[in-house]
């Protein structure tokens, strides 16, 4: 028997995918003897589901508007597992069709998707993310003359603006790379974004200032800022000393990592970029 979960589907009754989200929810509740949460009632009367929400949560979004996810976020709920049905169908070469009443083939697909979802490894909760962010980091290095640039080999994604995102579950911490902090020199000031700000991929998520220059921090990922590192405002030198861990700038609840990822570099690719830049490096 699968672990019991609370299941929060979208409503979506006016679109063909909505009833499929409902069917997946019903299949999940049956499979794990879980608790079903009505998004409409939850929105009006969250206390009604206080007990059910002591269980780990599965969130089911029908389409890209992600109403169920947004509702969960508004109420500060953490999803253990998630599915966006339109995308999940696309992945297996299917679609929601045109009808508001699911046909038998689609009902069978819903049961399959429900089984797969329960079998999938759980996403890390925010608490797990905290632990993941604290884990020791392994580095590769690019060297040029007396300069050594460190680049984490695992768990970090980079953009070509020399900013990183450290991914843990549904969250990422964002900061600037070792290359960028050395290029800027001793930092004198760090400006943080506001908690709650929605940031786009390649949007500004703060800035850093050194004796030499001011530079925007360009976010590698899209999402909502859920925390900021006030320690770097007090002591910007933390970014110079430990750019990838203690020198993080903001923590983001990820909106669409898979889409963001297509435009980012992993550690190895970023290492190659820094090696190329280092060859031209003039501090």
């Amino acid at each position: 028997m699968a672990e019991r979960h609370a299941v929060l589907p979208c409503n979506g009754l006016d679109k063909p995918v909505g009833p499929l989200a409902r069917e997946i929810a019903l299949a999940l509740v049956e499979a794990c003897q879980g608790e079903l949460i009505c998004p409409v009632l939850y929105n009006n009367l969250p206390a009604r589901y206080a007990k059910a929400l002591e269980l780990p949560l599965i969130v089911i979004d029908g389409c890209g508007t992600r109403c169920a996810s947004k509702l969960a976020t508004e109420h500060d709920l953490k999803a253990r597992r998630k599915i966006q049905v339109t995308d999940a169908l696309k992945e297996i070469g299917e679609s929601a069709g045109e009808a508001l009443t699911p046909d038998p083939e689609r009902l069978a697909l819903c049961r399959q998707l429900a089984e797969r979802l329960l079998a999938a490894p759980a996403e890390e909760s925010a608490v797990d993310a905290e632990a993941a962010f604290a884990e020791p980091v392994e580095y590769a290095t690019a060297t040029h003359d007396k300069f050594i640039f460190r680049i984490p080999t695992q768990g970090y994604l980079f953009n070509e603006n020399h900013c990183w995102a450290h991914i843990a579950g549904s969250r990422a911490r964002v900061g600037i790379s070792d290359y960028m902090q050395q290029e800027l020199g001793d930092l004198t000031f760090c400006e943080l974004p506001q908690v709650g700000t929605e940031v786009e991929q390649f949007g500004e998520i703060g800035s850093v200032e050194s004796v030499k220059a001011v530079s925007d921090i360009i976010s590698p990922v899209s999402g909502r800022v859920v925390a900021v590192n006030t320690a770097v405002v007090e002591a910007p030198e933390l970014i110079n000393e430990d750019p990838y861990v203690k020198g993080w700038v903001a923590e983001v609840e990820l909106r669409d990592l898979e889409s963001d990822r297509a435009l980012l570099l992993d550690g190895e690719a970023y290492l190659a970029l820094v090696r190329q830049k280092a060859a031209e490096y003039r501090p």
């Binding site: 070509e160 925007d216 297509a262």
Partner: protein
């Protein structure tokens, strides 16, 4: 440098650089003093400041605009540039 790329796309194909609104610019030169990438150049004649090296501009950076009192600097729309880069990357990978 003509072989510069950004996100796999030749830099000169990405139209990201500042545009000076000369009806506002008071030639205080703060942007030129600020930018370490020599995007701007001061001239003897008129106008006294030009965007001389647009491809030196760091794609997605618009930090110089914050130094501009009269708000004379503008940049392209970021989402449109991102879409353009995506398209150019796809074209490149398709042939």
């Amino acid at each position: 440098m003509s072989d510069e790329t950004f996100m796999g796309v030749p830099r000169e194909k990405i139209p990201w650089f500042p545009t000076i609104d000369y009806s506002r610019c008071d030639f205080c030169m703060e942007c030129d003093k600020f930018c370490p990438h020599r995007v701007y150049e001061r001239r003897e004649g008129d106008p006294k400041l030009v965007v001389a090296n647009p491809t030196n501009c760091v794609v997605f950076c618009r930090a110089c605009a914050k130094t501009c009192g009269p708000d004379a600097l503008s940049f392209p729309n970021k989402p449109e540039i991102i879409e353009l880069i995506k398209r150019l990357r796809e074209e490149d990978s398709n042939g």
